[in-house]
Symmetry: C2
DNA sequence: ATGCAAATTGCAACCGATTGCAATATTTTT
DNA sequence: AAAAATATTGCAATCGGTTGCAATTTGCAT
């Protein structure tokens, strides 16, 4: 209630008979300032409860110390993990975060980009929405020299910086695992193929099939939006197939979990009748019965790495644009939902 | 790359032969400015790609247009839902959000508070960590007249503004439901009783027992931190009890799900041997087998309501401190995990 | 045409921190 | 002890928008 006056460097300066310039330098530990003076200043500053005015500072420095984050969706374990990783690094480096989410639409993604542009963020971290087809909405940043770094959902052929996993390899390993478990009719449930992650996983799926001498069939490819409703429908499609498929590689754990539910309700045995592999290693994998084999997609690490490259780029310690693409390791985690024979020894268990 | 010069109101002013003051007023639609002049100014502004400098503005206005959010944990459906609700409202009202999470420790919560204080947020939305015992770290805000509003985890007897559900009633209904299903030995798994939500739910649990003529037993009260590990241990404790309990009211869905898993592995039938009720209505409720009876705790609505009261307080449209406490409706959702008889007609199904 | 109220616009002083360069103080060197 | 070198500190402009008050213009009645 009592609106006490804010302490400024001028207050400190006058109380100590110094200039504001000296106080400013002392508070940021400038080498030119005498140690003794510095101590007097910092002591008085803490005593008076001084807090630096970010706006004055930003205004003068023409920097915001803020990083913008554009997510396609926040309600997933993976994304929250990424966010936690980003937050850890940016907090350490003293950057603020402004977070926007696109709810998977291009329109909102572009609106978020505009907003962040107006807020003058120093840099952008983004993962694309389902239906984003170009990067024009990021052009203003590029023009102004504001760094943009993508992760997970990216345009592989764009020349922006990006952090991804080898989705093709992950898809390949997931599918190969199903083949090794004896599956012959393997369905692949995935999302919009415009997105690299899904296109690549599909490519890996096809490669594994080809290597196993199994012909890819269009009817075994189910594309949806990974919602609960769509997942139930996907399961029903599978149930309607004849002969029944014996394996499903789903590109998302939640969707896989719902499919397992639906199949179980239809009295399908998992993994005996149909073996299932998911993607992401969400907690849900260990809740669902049987526990879900999946690809571990290390969100926190990805977040940390993305943030770290951006921050060190901003601080001039490294040029993000040189190390254009960073590929993070992912791995297959075998659990009960796909396990028909004994565990192959080249995969991890957890 | 090309660092084009930023357009300022001075550029617009000089190109139009006007003063910066007029441009400033025109851009914020000040009534004193001639309509015709206004149009010329806004037109040129958009043509030049003018973007207002928030720092200069904030510096002058001594406001940040930023709201700070302190969460105890982000990795839960409920919290993300709350966040989504908050974001919706604050974005509409053109406020930025700075989000910090305490990972359930007082220390980090206080650090976040300090940080937000230094960032000079206009207001604070917070939910307390497990081990927070006082609100001293929020005192600086109160002193400066910065509004703080709590939700979910609050101090009930503090005089700050808060948005909560009737946890006692929810706990009562959950327990009563178990009683109605014929349970006699009902375990309650919950977390730190310092937190109102848990203390109140426990009170409701006790009340329902008393009404049913069942004596409360200390050994049926299990307090943990709701992690996966702790949940497994809780389940083991239950399994070690003799006679075996026939009902469990768990204060968190995830924890309940893990307990169900663990009990199932021990060949306990649910709900026949032990009926279980959770809390929150996370998606996990519908994934777990059997599906989990729970209390619906409407996160998005809570977020919206919290944010709305704060925003309208900040805008002077309402005084948050008058409507001190807002209580949101919650409800029991009955699913298979607790259903032994037919559905009582006074509860909803979903 | 003159006077006065109302409508527009401009002046200038903020807001608080930063920083190149100049000025002063302190040490070191000769 | 004077000169030179180094260490400290201060001056003053700058970042861009806001706002109380004054100045100017316009509109309208007399």
């Amino acid at each position: 209630m009592s609106k006490e006056k804010e302490i400024t460097i001028y207050d400190i300066a006058s109380q100590l008979g110094l200039s504001a310039a000296t106080v400013s330098r002392a508070l940021k530990d400038h080498p030119a300032i005498n140690k003794h003076t510095k101590k007097k200043i910092t002591d008085l500053a803490t005593k008076l409860g001084y807090r630096s005015n970010t706006f004055a500072s930003n205004l003068r420095k023409q920097k915001t110390n803020t990083i913008g984050v554009i997510f396609h969706e926040l309600r997933s374990q993976f994304m929250v993990a990424v966010l936690a990783g980003i937050e850890k690094i940016t907090t350490e480096a003293n950057y603020d975060l402004i977070i926007g989410h696109s709810s998977e639409t291009y329109e909102k993604e572009a609106a978020n980009a505009r907003n962040l542009f107006h807020k003058r963020v120093d840099g952008i971290i983004a993962s694309l929405a389902f239906d984003t087809e170009d990067l024009n909405h990021f052009a203003p940043f590029v023009q102004k020299g504001i760094p943009v770094i993508f992760f997970d959902r990216v345009f592989e052929n764009s020349d922006g910086a990006k952090v991804i996993i080898n989705n093709r390899k992950a898809g390949y390993e997931a599918t190969k695992h199903l083949v090794e478990q004896g599956c012959k009719r393997i369905v692949h449930v995935t999302a919009n193929l415009k997105r690299n992650v899904y296109a690549e996983r599909l490519a890996g799926y096809k490669q594994a099939l080809t290597e196993a001498g199994i012909k890819f069939k269009e009817k075994y490819l189910i594309i949806n939006d990974l919602t609960e409703k769509a997942s139930v429908e996907a399961a029903k499609k599978v149930l309607a197939m004849s002969p029944l498929p014996d394996g499903i590689f789903v590109t998302n754990d939640f969707c896989a979990a719902v499919i397992i539910q639906t199949l179980k309700e239809a009295k399908i045995n998992i993994p005996e009748d149909i073996a299932i592999v998911g993607f992401n290693n969400d907690v849900i994998c260990k809740i669902i019965e049987p526990k879900l084999t999946t690809i571990n997609y290390p969100g926190t690490e990805i977040g940390e790495i993305v943030a770290r490259s951006l921050v060190s780029h901003l601080q001039g310690n490294a040029n993000m644009h040189l190390t254009n693409t960073i590929i993070i390791k992912s791995e297959l985690i075998v659990r009960a939902s796909s396990l028909r024979k004994k565990l192959p020894k080249n995969t991890s268990k957890k």
